[in-house]
Amino acid sequence: MSQEPEDVKPKINLKVVYDGEEVQIKVKPNTKFAKIFAAAEQRFGKESGTFKFVYEGKRIGKEDTPGDLDIEDGDQIDCFLEQLGGWQ
């Protein structure tokens, strides 16, 4: 029942980029990013929670959806490892 309107929306392609490597993920605009994160981390062979995800310079929260962030088809999402700083 509730699935119907979701299916009408077109799926979008996300480019997830880590260190020059690129992974394509196809998602619905209302998929929560938690799912996308898990998929991306699996593809890059990392444990969950390893990456920080950034879209156009802004952090993405797990509860956000591509629709919330106005992400369009083919947009790029960057992954970063945690940055730590204390000394050299």
Binding site: V17, D19, G20, S48, G49, K52, V54, E56, G57, K58, R59, G61, K62, E63, D64, D68, L69, Q76, D78, F80, E82, Q83, L84, G85, G86, W87, Q88
Partner: protein
């Protein structure tokens, strides 16, 4: 004054008095022996007055006078001089004769939200939850300094900054003499550290306090760089304030069962009397203006907030002890470095809630707040994301763009194209200042771009006084050995020999801020980063040619200049220094930009000190 000293004499056993001659000033030492020796013998002192209060004062403490046995009793003059009213006023002052107000502090996990004050007498230090001595303090904590405290760190008096001291208890003492409040077992070990910020106390009282502490604690040292402690204090308080507000809101929502509008929620809060909220109120700073916008949270997060409860005030991390001491490894360290547990990515705090790009503080991030731990990107973003510059000065906030710490990483690793879209929603050249936090080789430093709009203006001929042709041999060449990626030579101010003879920096002259774009790097290890200067300069010009459709040759270059900033004394605090530098710079960006620009010679600090010294010697001769 007389009433006070006499009253002190009544209560203080002579032993302590003879040890502490400064306690009551000079007149107490004159009068006290006379009186105390009388006191044992002359039961008649109070009767001279016919006043009940007096009987009470002298009753509890009968000094056994071993030291003053030989002194001939002198009939004291004081009762005759006093009015009854005055004596009544002295009575409450007896208990807490000397005190200092506490601006902020932590006992382990417990935050001493103002009002709090500390008082000291004999060998006890007491913390009371009132602004000044008053019998109705709800929470009182007594510390028997000589037996409980292993280590004492303090700041030398200085009226330009807040005074901080740190006490570290002996490890075994926690259970017995510890504070009387509930703590979960796993955090209870942390309460052995007491950190207090006294704000700007009156000099005499502060020095008296330090003088009193010194003989009681053997291991003590002076805190050198207070602002690092303050920065950590602020970071912790921000976390705890925001988290407390989030929790308070959730308690409200649980009370109402649904999400409510802001106004309903606040009203509900006043009605709410369930003990959970009451418990929180103890922790909550009274300052409601700090409330961040808080939105609905789901129930999963709810449980994590509640768990966070005891750790909320994040106290172990408030330990400037560790901040200051690279050599003293604290037991917490092992915990901090241990592998993150399974739910370390559980979200504890979202700030600011409900906004795109909000920072999620997770359990794993909290570990980064522990002593000697390195700050990570999330905490850095959280730290400067909620500095005053966003709250207090919205005009200024509009002029500033803050890049994520990943920006430089990406620019450095890849190319302009990879970050081109990061500025798609606004015009970078309308900003006056751009903050670029940089993380390289496990080290944080800061780049600030000033006045980027000048990149768009055509190049001016360089003013002859400060610029010399790049062909002049200089130390620039050694610095640019770093395989610069671009073919353009870097632009660095080169100092002519004539200028070298001058005083290193003179702020007396009005610094001429040329209409140029500048790139400053602020590094607490004192390193220079010409490569960052080049990368950011190239970025600015590429951005201009892409977004403004300007030809590259018509663009002005940005000038790179490393700023001299305080150096970190250890290997773990650069994140805190970065936050402090952001905050300081943007408290008055124009002024600080001018200070950086007006410094003619980029000497290292030691070099500068030597030059100043030699200059002075020359002057003397």
């Amino acid at each position: 004054m007389t009433t006070r000293t006499v009253a002190l004499a009544l209560h203080d056993p002579p032993l302590t008095q003879s040890k502490k001659p400064r306690l009551g000033g000079s007149d107490s030492s004159k009068k006290a022996p006379g009186f105390t020796s009388n006191n044992a013998k002359l039961g008649n002192v109070p009767t001279q007055l016919d006043d009940d209060e007096i009987v009470e004062i002298s009753a509890p403490n009968k000094p056994k006078d071993r030291f003053h046995k030989g002194i001939i009793p002198v009939v004291p003059q004081w009762p005759v001089q006093l009015d009854d009213d005055e004596i009544v006023r002295v009575v409450p002052a007896l208990k807490t004769k000397r005190f200092l107000a506490i601006k902020d502090g932590y006992i382990g996990s417990f935050r001493l939200s103002p009002p709090y004050h500390l008082a000291w007498e004999e060998r006890n230090l007491t913390l009371h939850s009132t602004e000044r001595p008053c019998p109705t303090a709800k929470h009182t904590d007594r510390i028997f300094v000589a037996a409980e405290i292993a280590k004492f760190k303090y700041t030398e008096f200085d009226d330009t900054s807040d005074m901080i001291f740190v006490l570290k208890r002996y490890p075994m003492q926690h259970a017995k003499g510890g504070p009387r409040f509930m703590l979960r077992p796993e955090v209870s070990r942390d309460k052995g550290i007491i950190v207090v910020n006294l704000g700007r106390p009156p000099r005499t009282q502060y020095e008296e306090f330090i003088a009193w502490m010194k003989p009681l604690v053997k291991r003590r040292s002076v805190i050198q760089q207070v602002f690092v402690c303050l920065e950590k204090f602020q970071l912790l308080n921000r976390v705890s304030d925001s988290a407390v507000n989030v929790i308070r809101n959730m308690v409200e929502m649980r009370g109402t069962g649904k999400t409510k509008g802001r106004s309903t929620a606040t009203r509900k809060e006043e009605e709410e009397s369930d003990d959970e909220l009451g418990k929180w109120n103890n922790h909550i700073a009274t300052d409601k203006s700090l409330k961040p916008p808080v939105q609905e949270q789901n129930s999963r997060q709810h449980s994590s907030f509640m768990e966070f409860d005891a750790k909320l005030c994040v106290p172990n991390s408030a330990d400037p002890d560790a901040v200051l001491n690279a050599d003293s490894k604290i037991e917490l360290d092992s915990a901090a470095q241990s592998a993150p547990d399974s739910n370390s990515d559980e979200v504890i705090l979202v700030y600011p809630t409900g906004q795109i790009g909000a920072v999620n503080i997770t359990k794993g991030d909290m570990i980064r707040l522990r002593p000697n731990a390195f700050l990570n990107d999330t905490l850095i973003e959280f730290g400067y994301g909620c500095t005053g510059l966003y709250k207090d000065n919205t005009e200024l906030a509009k002029q500033i763009h803050v890049f994520s710490s990943f920006f430089y990483h990406k620019l450095n690793q890849q190319s302009y194209a990879s970050v081109a879209k990061w500025t798609s929603k606004f015009d970078l050249f309308e900003k006056k200042y751009i903050i670029v936090p940089i993380n390289e080789n496990l080290h944080w430093y800061l780049a600030i771009i000033c006045y980027p709009e000048h990149v768009l203006k055509p190049e001016l001929p360089p003013p002859p006084s400060t610029k010399v042709s790049p062909s002049t041999p200089s130390n620039t060449n050694t610095r640019s050995n770093l395989n610069l990626p671009s073919d353009e030579p870097m632009e660095v101010e080169v100092i002519s020999p004539a200028l070298m003879e001058r005083v290193p920096f003179d702020t007396s002259n009005e610094p001429q801020v040329q209409p140029r774009a500048y790139i400053f790097t602020l590094d607490s290890l004192g390193l220079e980063h010409p490569r960052a200067g080049v990368l950011l300069d190239n970025y600015l010009r590429q951005e201009a040619s892409e977004k403004k459709n300007m030809h590259k040759d018509r663009l002005n270059k940005a000038t790179y200049k490393p700023a001299l900033v305080p150096h970190q004394p250890n290997f773990c605090d650069c994140g805190l220094y970065l936050l402090h530098l952001v905050e300081t710079f943007f408290s008055d960006p124009h002024k600080y930009a001018n200070i950086v620009l007006s410094r003619k010679n980029p000497y290292a600090a030691a070099d500068r000190a030597r030059r100043l010294a030699s200059g002075r010697n020359r002057g003397d001769a």
